[in-house]
Symmetry: C2
Subunit: 393 residues, 2 copies
């Protein structure tokens, strides 16, 4: 215990940086694997003939199968939460807190992360998902909008199959940011005996107001004439990239915050004069348009629509969040960003109150940083010690 | 003074409702008038051949012209802030606080409110504006996107011309909610000697983040194929009502709050099952879609785009908000809704700090209610006494 205990204490005291025990030379290149799950019946009664989802792992599962941790990804993410998938390639989004000697310590834990169903990153070579862009074996053509509706619970069920196939018997922790935090809560509700600890980050209940925002996120796709009710796959057809880009523009701004935007300082685009010409614009508008257009090129519009629906169906099999988590695991660490404009502080407060009212041990941590909601994806390093302590409880 | 002093005191103590001195039988039907302002040179250097804006007044201007109050309207509003324009018709949006014996007392003050330039309510018979839907006398056809860009300062300049024509020499108060609050601040900056008191409600500085949100509000219009770069007026053409409705959907949800949405309680639409059918939806989505479609039918898409730009150009002639208000009036009452999701509490706090740093007397008041930003339009009655006291200072 001493070998592990000392660095953990040092971390808690802020004496070590989280990467101190991870020299670059020791960085492992992870393999992206594919789970072939066979036929899958959705919670809504539909059938997916061939379930395939990508995943990655780090660390080793113990003989009892009890040292596993599951990381669930955010709305636009995939399984790449930690490590590198190629030498010199980018690190996963939570790499600051996951790895050998890091707060989620892969010397101790077997950490798994999987691509969800209807993952939006269809054109990305490192994403493997089953969704509306997948081929329906009955027709030999993409499902498009004939793909069955899937819910957050379906995400959990497919991950459960994956974990079963890997020999996992218990999760020491299920965690994730945003959409990943919703999955973590849904896990706690679905498999209370299987989960020891839950750590939702920048996540809270999906109420009617948030269901409305999710509708607003997706609506530009339906406005794009190229969407054609989802029938845009195949040669000679154009994907609804303008509508999809507009959708990403909303998500992008909503998931950031005003402090981040201050760098644009109301500046017009160089050479433009929006005070005189209605076709001229401000720098923030160009940044948003370009970021969103780039994101549209690496994602799929129909999958975006299905992912929205899965979010709107958060905990849809339960009368309330309180009822859903009532019989679930006892230990929770709820991490929130006070400037999160997607999951507001009030909603996070209600989540914490519901958990406390249900007799849970609930700790909380706050994320600073100018990025609002996005702090939960890219700004986790400062709460690393808190996470290590939570795992040690 | 006694006659007026007692009711004001009673109001402050909450002993009277604001309508106690306004029996229905005494309600005056107001006349909507039209100000013909002639040719107008915009701040951006463009020319509007025939400036026409609608307005309404209540109360009497004193001989010195010093008892006037100007009320500026919100993004989707018009001059109808008080009174009724037809017997039995709806009351103005701030009627709870404006009228005989009310906090903004038309027995004492001459209250004016005008339609802005590029007002969105073009199809509305009670709105008179000059904007992209107006006829360009040089061509005999609507300006469409050839209309000159106008700024918040242009709104102020046209209102100043109107007030001059009415003989107003000084404003005891300029006030308004949201976009109207921005106009009030712009007034304070443009005509510091003309304005005694300023009362921005649910308003704060427009920073780059807000400029980005304004871009998001308008973008669905540009996505609608019927928009045709603004060239949709005239026989045989369809207005971009789908895009415009989508734009209103964003504004509508953004300007409300989660407490309001709780009534929809994640319910599916009657007879629909969004957990099984991707084309089925939730009740909140239908409400938003119907409210927005109705709003689209009574507004003009190009005017929406120009109104967005005017907001993005808030205080664009000044290096900062602090610099803009430095030499302005000394007395401010800043009214905000803590659950405002458009102008966030942080932004309102910065406005108050900037005013205090500039040596102003700044009072603040908070609006409760479930409607978030909209509380500043429809929820003003509870701060009536505070407003009366502010006017008495």
């Amino acid at each position: 215990m001493l070998r592990r205990g000392l660095p953990a204490l040092a971390l808690a005291l802020g004496l070590l940086t989280v990467s101190a025990r991870t020299p670059a030379a020791a960085q492992e290149v992870l393999e992206k694997r594919v789970f072939e799950g066979g036929a899958y019946q959705t919670r809504g009664g539909g059938t997916i003939a061939n379930l395939r989802i990508g995943y990655q792992t780090m660390g080793s599962l113990n003989a009892a199968g009890t040292n596993a941790i599951l990381i669930c990804h955010f709305f636009s993410g995939n399984s790449h939460a930690f490590g590198r998938l190629a030498a010199g390639g980018p690190a996963g989004y939570w790499d600051a807190i996951i790895g050998p000697g890091k707060p989620i310590d892969t010397d101790r834990y077997f950490v798994v992360s999987a691509d969800t169903l209807v993952n939006v990153n269809v054109p990305d070579a490192n994403t493997v998902t089953t969704g509306p862009a997948s081929i329906n074996p009955d027709t030999g053509r993409p499902y498009a909008m004939t793909f069955p509706v899937v819910s957050m619970r379906d995400f959990v069920e497919t991950q459960k199959r994956l974990l079963d196939s890997l020999g996992v018997k218990r999760l020491a922790l299920v965690a994730g940011p945003s959409n990943g935090g919703l999955q973590a809560i849904e896990w706690a509700a679905a498999y209370p005996g299987f989960v020891e600890r839950v750590m939702p980050v920048v996540a809270a209940d999906i109420d009617a107001w948030m269901q409305g925002w999710l509708d607003i996120w997706e609506s530009p796709i339906r406005l794009d004439p190229n969407w054609r009710e989802g029938d845009y796959y195949g040669q000679g057809r154009e994907a609804p990239l303008r509508g999809l880009a507009e959708a990403w523009k909303i998500v992008t701004l909503h998931a950031r915050d005003r402090l981040w935007a201050k760098q644009y300082d109301r500046q017009p685009l160089e050479g433009q004069d929006p005070a005189r010409r209605i076709g001229d614009h401000f720098a923030i508008e160009r940044w948003l348009a370009e970021a969103a257009a780039a994101r549209a090129r690496t994602s799929d519009a129909n999958s975006f629509l299905y992912m929205i629906r899965a979010n709107q169906l958060f905990l849809n099999e339960y009368p309330s969040l309180a009822a859903a988590v009532a019989g679930g695991p006892a230990r929770w660490l709820v991490i929130a960003a006070p400037t999160d404009r997607v999951f507001l502080s009030e909603g996070v407060g209600e989540l914490v109150e519901a958990l406390k009212a249900g007799g849970k041990q609930v700790a909380t941590a706050r994320l600073a940083g100018p990025l609002g909601h996005q702090n939960g994806v890219v700004g986790m390093a400062p709460v690393g010690a808190r996470i290590a302590a939570f795992l040690a409880e």
